[in-house]
């Protein structure tokens, strides 16, 4: 009898007198096999066979249906379905046809195994995980001999110089990555803002007059020189630092600012970039003057120097000092006086 066959009622493999030789626990022999309906009743077997075959045939039909739908149904057609709602007809049909088709192939195979293939449990012996002592000895001996033959042990100069060279070998692989990017430099400390730069609406790039902003008003804004710079650079880096929000409140409501006279008649401008990890914030609640970041719920009080009143941000929102130019449009008095956005090691 091969070690793969096991007759029910006999001593289980790995046990002696009903005790597991390894763990010492009591082991019961397997109970008698309970036959399934298909094992004893040929009609039940035939029924199961028909069920499996039906599933496979249905799968075939559905999969062919996929091809038909692919050819006939355009991608843009939307149809109202029950429960699912208004969806792409193509997507719904392709997905259900292929999906159900594959499901039926799988279900058919499983049904076949469960009902018709033998379900007599068999046992296979495990072999011990460790190698035999002989194998271990031979391995150790082979390694010892090979090492001795190589001379790695006695020839100290060869060994040391080899290790030295190998240790340095990865260096070019690391050095060559230097040009992945530039050194940080002053990049994180500078933005496009400077004295006289106009504040314009985002994304419509219109200059702003103070009288256009009512109390409680909010404007998402960018510096006027952003448009040109973005075209020049071909990236959104400056936008990621220079985006601001402008809000207007009753001057009597301003508790404090980051500098005297940085507002203009109750209009204040703050950086939009959260000082936590950099999400842009424009959720301004006009009654409380609180700015709420949707990412991690850091909350800043724009009537009180943008200080943090809740949440994981550690630093206040940087304020941009503004005034009006000769034509009556809002301009910056100067750039930001602290780095905008998330903290970093060298920040100070």
């Amino acid at each position: 009898m091969s070690d793969l066959e096991h007759f029910h009622g006999e001593e289980p493999i790995g046990s002696v007198d009903g005790i597991d030789v390894v763990s010492g626990k009591q082991v019961f022999p397997m109970g008698p096999h309970e036959p399934r309906r298909a094992d004893i009743d040929p009609k039940a077997a035939k029924r199961a066979e028909r069920q499996v075959a039906t599933m496979f045939v249905l799968a075939t039909v559905l999969i062919l249906g996929f091809v038909v739908v692919y050819v006939k149904v355009p991608t843009t057609k939307l149809v109202a379905f029950p429960i699912v709602g208004t969806a792409s007809l193509s997507n719904v049909l392709l997905g259900t046809l292929f999906g159900l088709g594959m499901f039926l192939i799988g279900a058919g195979a499983i049904h076949w195994a469960k009902k018709l293939m033998p379900d007599v449990e068999v046992a296979e012996a495990r072999h011990e995980m460790r190698s035999t002592p002989t194998a271990r000895q031979e391995f150790a001996a082979a390694v010892k001999q090979g090492a001795a033959e190589s001379g790695f042990g006695e020839r100290k100069i060869i060994r040391r110089t080899l290790l030295g060279a190998l240790a340095l070998f990865p260096i070019p692989l690391v050095v060559i990555l230097r040009d992945l990017g530039p050194m940080p430099g002053t990049r994180l400390r500078t933005t496009l803002w400077g004295k006289g730069v106009h504040l314009v609406t985002d994304p419509t790039y219109r200059r702003i007059r103070p009288e256009d902003i009512p109390i409680g008003g909010l404007i998402n804004a960018v510096p006027e020189n952003l448009l040109h710079k973005e075209e020049e650079d071909g990236n959104l880096n400056e936008r990621g630092k220079a985006s601001i929000i402008i809000v207007r409140m009753d001057p009597a409501d301003i508790v404090s600012q980051q500098g005297a006279g940085w507002d203009y008649q109750g209009i204040v401008a703050y950086s939009k970039i959260c000082t936590h990890v950099g999400c842009p914030i424009s959720l301004y609640q006009q009654r409380t003057h609180h700015l709420l970041c949707p990412c991690h719920q850091s909350t800043f009080d724009l009537s009180d120097s943008g200080k943090v009143v809740f949440g994981p941000a550690a630093r206040r929102m940087p304020q941009l000092a503004i005034t009006v130019d000769a034509d009556g449009y809002l301009v910056a008095q100067q750039g930001f006086t602290e780095p905008v956005g998330p903290s970093f090691w060298e920040r100070g």
Binding site: A87, S88, K114, P203, D212, P214, G216
Partner: protein, 258 residues
Amino acid sequence: MAISRRHPAALFAVLVVGLATTGVAYAAVTTGSTPQAVAPSQTQVQEGKEIFLQGCSSCHGLAAQGGSDGPSLIGVGAAAVDFQVGTGRMPMAGPGAQAMPKTPVYNEEQIAALAAYVASLGAGPAIPTEDQLKTNEADLAIGGELFRTNCAQCHSFSGRGGALSEGRMAPSLMKSEAKRIYEAMITGPQSMPVFSDKTITPADKQAIIKYIQELQKQENPGGFALGRLGTVTEGLFLFVVGLGALIGIAVWIGAKAK
């Protein structure tokens, strides 16, 4: 002396008949077009004041100057009243974090009167006209850009609302009418900031409204949208329905067949 066969009042009668005829004819010709921005009559303002004193002054003050329970209404404009009272947010049932829209307490005429009264207290945004709400010229794509820059941060990318601080919410826009959207933008109700017509022009606003209406169509090419709540509901669906189904089938595979 010639005897007049006319009745002494005949001339008078002709004048009256003439006036009445032309008056009726004029009314018949001009009925159907409600003139826009009709200057509220004194009676409408008075009616509004009475309604105000009865239903609003307890929180907003006798002269609408504001109080501990409600802000000043001087300068909020007719649009604010139309929005707040028209959506049923006002009068608020009680002080609380969020003014919830509900069935309006007042009818259209009363709301118009209230609006006229509040408008008389100080210059403020007027109720948007039909022309201001027309979206057929509006650019859907620009509307989307404007929406994502100015609205999505509170109302979410799908317009289904979002959380504010201390239990307040930016409500869902899925059932909002064009007029209400416009009014909300120009009046800045409750926590919402004000988006004046100078910085977000009427054309901008129409584009935004058009985009919101597009969102309201609830067209989801990929199928059931799980509330358009993003990855949270996707994850819930995955574990409850998806993994649940697969584990269920695994149990079926491992179960002894009969």
